[in-house]
């Protein structure tokens, strides 16, 4: 395949950037999208040019590093697929492909296609955990959890924190990311004692990080490589509302 790439190049966080055109000839359909970029980079380096920086690591769709806006779609045209699992057979010979970084106020660009997603870690710090210090646990089978509950929790827990939901959202909201953690932990019996405080603190942190509000466009669930549903956002809103209403009335910690 012979392709034309239009790629965002930006030398550093403080500089401006622009789309730069590259020819990508002789690309095989079995290559992954990132392998195609590897080939382009090898050719750039052979010419002594600086290669295109992009985040990637596991290349099997689970680490959440890769983060490319391909033709304006987060992770490209295939549903439920991270960029590293996207293959060139999804494109046609002669195509022009635009590649940009995630664009969101909360994700500043570091270089080229690399962005800073540290805000996600800080949302987790605010409450995305169950407090269980090492050594304090009782026997695992003393906690019973129905199969349906654990399956729903697992659906939400699959989030890879890639940030596609934020990039796809017209508001730049991190609602799907935050809601998936609130849903995962809030569904489990172990997560009950901290459930409402968690919702309050994580939602507050989203605002501090300058993520936009959720107005239920639903773009996030279309972009999510793990196909996490916006049902989780409804759960988050419910927990948050309940926590807000009962704040100061001592009912926050009570499980329902």
């Amino acid at each position: 395949m012979n392709l034309t790439l239009r790629i965002w190049r930006q030398a550093g966080p403080a500089t401006g950037g622009s789309m730069v055109e590259y020819d990508a000839g002789d690309i095989g359909p079995d290559m992954s999208f990132l392998e195609m970029l590897d080939v382009v980079n090898e050719r750039l380096m052979e010419r002594g040019e600086v290669p295109i920086a992009f985040d990637h690591d596991c290349r099997e769709g689970i680490c959440g590093s890769c983060s490319l806006m391909i033709n304006g779609v987060a992770h490209g045209p295939e549903r439920g697929t991270a960029t590293c699992q996207l293959h060139m057979r999804s494109f046609a010979d002669g195509d022009t492909i635009s590649v940009e970084p995630w664009r969101a106020r909360a994700f500043p660009i570091v270089k080229d296609l690399v962005v800073d997603r540290g805000a996600f870690d800080r949302i987790i710090q605010a409450g995305g955990y169950i407090t269980a210090p090492t050594g304090s646990a009782r026997d695992a089978n003393t906690i019973l959890i129905s199969k349906d509950t654990v399956d729903t929790a697992m659906d939400a827990a699959q989030c890879i924190a890639c940030g596609a939901c934020v990039a796809a959202c017209p508001n730049g909201s991190a609602a799907l990311f935050t809601a998936s953690k609130i849903t995962h932990l809030g569904l489990l019996p172990q997560g009950q004692p901290e459930r409402y405080g968690r919702a309050l603190r994580m939602v507050a942190q989203m605002d501090i990080e300058h993520f936009g509000g959720c107005t239920l466009y639903g773009e996030c669930q279309e972009a999510c490589p793990k196909e996490i549903s916006i049902d989780t956002i409804t759960r988050m809103n419910r927990d948050f509302l309940r926590a807000t209403l009962s704040q100061g009335h001592g009912a926050v910690a009570r499980a329902d």
Binding site: E42, S65, T134
Partner: protein, 638 residues
């Protein structure tokens, strides 16, 4: 070098760890605050250690090259984690898990460490459930289990095909909780480039901030490396692209002995290579062998589609050769059997380097829905990569480099030959001998990080009482200068070849001569080729860009420079070990029917190599391995 004293406590094996825990010195809570521990790596071992040390009261700094600790490669582990819970009532016990692991490791591990691992396995599951890890459950709400290779009991806990992800997120969340509390400071996109040793003790690390390029030193009272394995020396492996050996290799060059570098695990079920452009290999979880049957056509060059080949013209070779373990034979054995079939010309797929993993019988027996529930995401991943649907036809699989059992030598306290330098998880050599069983890597990473290291590091700090040193200490300055110089050197060569082209060439040498089957002539050839390639690298590599920016080519160059040295040591170790054991198969040493032939009289030891200077052969030291509880025997899975 500190002598190789394993420090295994005396007494019956069941009581060693408890006795040791009582005998170790404690650091009182007020004093813990005064100590700083540097943890490098944020995978299962690193994250669980950093979080637990912080909970205990230590000041912790945690360094990792990814942008978030949650992206460490433990995240990609699929199948599960072993624990001797015996919830299935199928005869499991701590002793059986211990026994299976020693036997699975082909009698090249330290018994006392393995027993402790089996003991702790039980607590790990409790800890993870308390954190909210959504392990699979039965309808009654109790935990579910599956089987894995090398065991006849069902002791593997799992969260769909994403167990590593869920366990890592558990540890990551605990770590972030501690970051929020102020006990841990994290350093993302930061790479460790050297170890600082002062008066023989590990006192700090030199790092490069991968965004600004700034080189700086961090000092502490102890250093913990949880930086994973070195499988990427082969270029193509199931490791993440960023996985590297730089931290352990540079610690090795500062005096930490490297044990059993030749023990590499080739995983039997990976998606075959599709072309020259391939950048990594993707594993299909071993758990698939629970329900998938491995076969090749009986007839060479059979061009028919797999479903057109009738039953009697298929060779289910694992079931035929190993009737009692069948498709669940351990990894090394299953990998070698696949290679053998392909070497005989029976391989399938375009390149003839593949065997079938067939689910037709399981789908018939259990229904498509059950198979989808068990392996849905794996089937999806396979289809995405190959464009073939495994519900319709069999998968094609081939072995690939997956895990390295070798690593920095550690004693029973997980301390290397440099006092104060502790090594945990895949980065050490301690528990898996010459072959790791499936679902045991997650177990070891978490055992080390949650339970062993947080206890043993106190013993070191309480007895060594490290004195304060400043950033202007000459040894600190010296290490910083050396790092800066070697970075500038890489940038100044301005040769003609890219870093990847060297890496690919090294990988091919390693795969051809130090891969699934090795022999003296091939290893000698590799020992000649690698130094030549290394010399060319240092005179002809081209690293564009500068050192004061995000420069991924520069990062890679440093890592490949280290692989070019480590690869040579792996071959030297493989050449010296004139026997076959586990993942190390020497063609000269095999039984009549092609099984690994150990030589316990001469080689029942861990080989720990001491660095002796650039381009000098390394010196080998032996830690003899005694087997008091599991009797030495030829492994049989027939």
């Amino acid at each position: 070098m500190r002598p190789l004293e394993s420090g295994v406590p005396s007494g019956p094996i069941e009581q060693k760890w408890d006795k040791h825990r009582f005998e170790m010195k404690l650091v009182n809570p007020a004093n813990k605050r005064k100590y700083t521990v540097l943890v490098v790596g944020s995978g299962l071992a690193g994250a669980s250690a950093a979080a637990t040390l912080s909970e205990l009261g230590y000041n912790v700094k945690c360094f990792f090259f990814q942008d978030s600790p949650r992206r460490a490669h433990s995240i990609a582990a699929q199948g599960g984690i072993n624990a001797a819970k015996n919830y299935r009532n199928d005869g499991d016990s701590i002793y059986r898990l211990f026994y299976d692991t020693v036997k699975g490791g082909d009698f090249r591990s330290r018994e006392a460490n393995v027993y402790r691992l089996a003991q702790i396995s039980v607590e790990i599951i409790d800890q993870c459930v308390a954190q909210g890890v959504p392990f699979a459950r039965e309808y009654g709400g109790l935990l579910a289990n599956r089987s894995f290779g090398g065991a006849q009991v069902s002791r593997t806990f799992y969260a769909r095909g994403q167990t590593g992800q869920q366990l890592l997120l558990g540890a990551y969340q605990q770590l972030e909780k501690e970051v929020g509390r102020g006990g841990v400071t994290v350093y993302p996109r930061t790479e460790m480039l050297d170890l600082i040793v002062v008066d023989g003790q590990a006192r700090g690390i030199v790092t490069r901030d991968m965004v600004s390029g700034r080189i700086s030193s961090h000092l502490g009272d102890a250093v913990v490396l949880g930086t994973g394995g070195y499988g990427n020396v082969f270029y193509l492996s199931t490791n993440a692209k960023g996985s590297n050996a730089t931290a352990i290799w540079r610690a090795h060059k500062r005096g930490a002995a490297f044990a059993n570098p030749c023990y590499t695990q080739i995983h039997p079920t990976c998606i075959p290579v599709s072309g020259e452009h391939q950048s990594k290999l993707t594993l299909m979880s071993e758990s698939l062998r629970n329900d998938g049957r491995v076969w090749v056509p009986r007839q060479k060059g059979d061009q028919r589609r797999p479903e057109q080949i009738p039953e009697n013209e298929r060779d289910y070779y694992l079931e035929r050769k190993y009737p009692s373990f069948g498709n669940l034979a351990p990894r090394d054995i299953a990998s070698r059997a696949a290679k053998e079939a392909c070497d005989q010309g029976l391989g399938v797929g375009e390149r003839g380097l593949g065997v079938y993993l067939d689910f037709a019988d399981a789908i018939k027996r259990l229904g498509e829905q059950t198979i989808r529930e068990r392996y849905g995401n794996l089937f999806q991943m396979y289809q995405r990569i190959t464009d073939e649907n495994p519900f319709v036809g069999p998968m094609r699989i081939y072995p690939a480099v997956h895990y390295t059992m070798g690593g920095l030598w550690v004693d029973y306290n997980l301390m290397s030959t440099i006092p104060g330098l502790h090594v945990i998880g895949e980065a050490n050599f301690s528990d898996h001998g010459a072959n790791r069983l499936g679902a045991s890597a997650l177990m070891q990473g978490l055992a080390d990080g949650y339970f062993v290291l947080p206890a043993t590091i106190g013993e070191y700090l309480a007895s060594s009482k490290p004195v304060r040193i400043g950033a202007d200490h000459p040894d600190v300055r010296q290490a910083e200068t050396e790092v800066t110089e070697s970075t500038s050197k890489l940038l100044s060569i301005k040769g003609k070849r890219t870093v990847d082209s060297f890496h690919r060439e090294l990988g091919k040498i390693m795969w051809d001569h130090c891969g699934m089957a090795r022999n003296a002539a091939g290893l000698q050839r590799a020992l000649q080729l690698i130094p030549e390639l290394r010399a060319e690298f240092w005179s002809n590599v081209n690293v564009p860009g500068s050192d004061a920016e995000l420069n991924q080519a520069l990062e890679k160059a440093g890592r490949v420079a280290d692989f070019l040295e480590l690869g040579e040591l792996m071959c030297a170790d493989a050449l010296h070990r004139e026997e076959s054991c586990g993942g190390h198969f020497r063609e000269e040493y095999q039984t009549g029917d092609g099984e690994a032939l150990r030589n316990d009289e001469l080689f029942a030891y861990a080989a720990a190599w001491e660095y002796c200077g650039a381009n000098q052969p390394e010196r080998m030291h032996r830690e003899p391995l005694g087997f008091e509880y599991v009797q030495l025997a030829q492994r049989s899975y027939k």
